[in-house]
């Protein structure tokens, strides 16, 4: 109610923009692209494949009311309430990976043998607030 009184007289379309700031933060928690090549780490002499690797990462603010959008447990909202109402030294919920996919790597071992290995949890595929 009071927000409406303060709200500047704007057209309905801007009104939805105006309300959006209360619903979802501007830079909301989401998955971001990141590609690296093992030659940047100077590992391409012993990591033969893949040449490119996209581990991805999660970044952004978590909305105050985190519902099903992130699959967050209720604890996330509780943590937010603690941060806002009780103790600001308790951190706000963080934007972190929720799911990963594996990566196959072909490497040369110190004894000169060659190994093909599939590693779990090497590429972030989904983010959540926790």
């Amino acid at each position: 109610e009071e927000n409406l009184q303060e709200a500047p007289t704007t057209s309905p379309s801007d009104l939805s923009q105006y309300f959006k700031q209360f619903l979802f933060p501007q830079n909301e928690c989401e998955l971001h692209n990141f590609r690296l090549s093992f030659s940047q780490l100077k590992w391409d002499k012993w990591i033969i494949a893949p040449h490119r690797y996209s581990p991805q990462y999660c970044k952004g603010d978590c909305p105050r009311v985190v519902g099903h959008r992130y699959g967050s447990p209720v604890h996330t909202m509780v943590q937010n309430i603690i941060y806002e109402k009780l103790d600001p030294s308790v951190p706000k919920p963080s934007c972190v990976p929720a799911e990963y996919s594996p990566l196959s790597v072909l490497t040369i071992e110190p004894d000169g043998s060659i190994v093909y290995k599939e590693y779990e949890d090497m590429i972030a595929t989904k983010c959540t607030c926790r």
């Binding site: 780490l41 100077k42 590992w43 002499k45 012993w46 033969i48 494949a49 893949p50 490119r52 690797y53 996209s54 996919s101 594996p102 990566l103 196959s104 790597v105 072909l106 490497t107 040369i108 071992e109 110190p110 004894d111 000169g112 043998s113 060659i114 190994v115 093909y116 290995k117 599939e118 590693y119 779990e120 949890d121 590429i123």
Partner: protein
């Protein structure tokens, strides 16, 4: 477990810089069976602890692999993973690790008994130190690469005889178990470069006893044409057999390894339970029972 949640402080960089065998090296805190399993971990820890200005490569000298072996493994990689390294969802391949060992150089001597035509026998010693206790053998293969252009023939029949060698007390070598495998190779001219001889049943007992060194003698006799007309040795083919590599298909059971069946199970997180087939009454009771329990909940 030692590293999860542990902040890599600058203190540990000294530790991590320690040579692999010094007791300061935190990797030695990992159980031996697990240490090699994390092939990727040590360099990752090193980069994190040294702020990455040293490249891992300069730390650990690596013997260069055989170029043919490298070519084969690159081909295996292309069959098993996409360009970006995502494992292909190939139900048939249960392995999540494939290790290729080339025989130790000092024992690679080929002697050909020219009297009997083309019998290739070679003494092979493979060092399996890199195989961890968490890597379980699924299949093992001797990998021959044919270096000469095979004559224009429809097929070649080979007989391979293996015998594992034990080192006796007085150091003399005596064959402990032997094994013969016959295999026929059907070549299109110059197409087939690799021959895989399955030696799983032969090697299983040796690898199961966690043997670090496998010492074996391999005799290969190859003849042109189909049996039985090729029984005599008068038409052996003259091909330069390069000493074979040993290929181990393994299932790494460590936490860091990708478990295909696990991900399949993960995908089927909530399988739809089949509704119990019983009388309508049963159904009614069932649903009442459910409603009551839901109300209670």
């Amino acid at each position: 477990p030692h590293y999860r949640g542990q902040v890599i402080s600058d203190k540990t960089s000294g530790l991590l810089a320690a040579p692999e065998d010094s007791e300061l090296n935190p990797l030695l805190w990992l159980p031996k069976s697990v240490r090699h399993g994390y092939a990727l971990l040590p360099p990752l820890l090193k980069v994190l602890s040294d702020q990455g200005h040293q490249n891992w490569e300069s730390e650990v000298p690596r013997l260069q692999p055989d170029s043919r072996a490298l070519r084969y493994m690159k081909r295996l990689y292309k069959m098993s993973a996409t360009k970006d390294g995502i494992p292909k969802a190939n139900k048939s391949h249960l392995y999540n690790t494939v290790r290729l060992f080339t025989p130790c150089s000092e024992c690679k001597h080929l002697h050909r008994d020219l009297m009997k035509g083309d019998v290739h026998s070679v003494d092979l010693l493979f060092n399996l130190d890199r195989v961890t206790a968490l890597e379980h053998l699924l299949k093992s293969v001797l990998l021959y690469s044919f270096d000469t252009s095979v004559p224009n023939s429809s097929s070649i029949t080979c007989m391979c005889h293996l015998s594992a060698k034990e080192h006796g007390f007085s150091g003399q070598v005596c064959p402990s178990i032997s094994h013969s495998i016959a295999f026929s190779l059907h070549f299109e001219v110059r197409k087939r470069k690799w021959v895989e001889i399955d030696v799983t049943s032969f090697l299983q007992p040796l690898i199961a006893t966690n043997r670090r060194n496998i010492h074996m003698a391999v005799n290969v006799t190859c003849l042109m044409g189909e049996p039985p007309q090729n029984t005599k040795l008068e038409n052996p083919i003259n091909m330069a057999l390069v000493p074979p590599s040993l290929l181990l298909y393994l299932n790494d059971t460590s936490e860091q390894a990708y478990h295909r069946w696990n991900s399949l199970r993960h995908k089927r997180k909530n399988p739809v339970r089949p509704r119990p087939r019983n009388s309508p009454r049963g159904d009614k009771e069932n649903s009442q029972g459910k409603r009551a329990s839901r109300r209670r909940r």
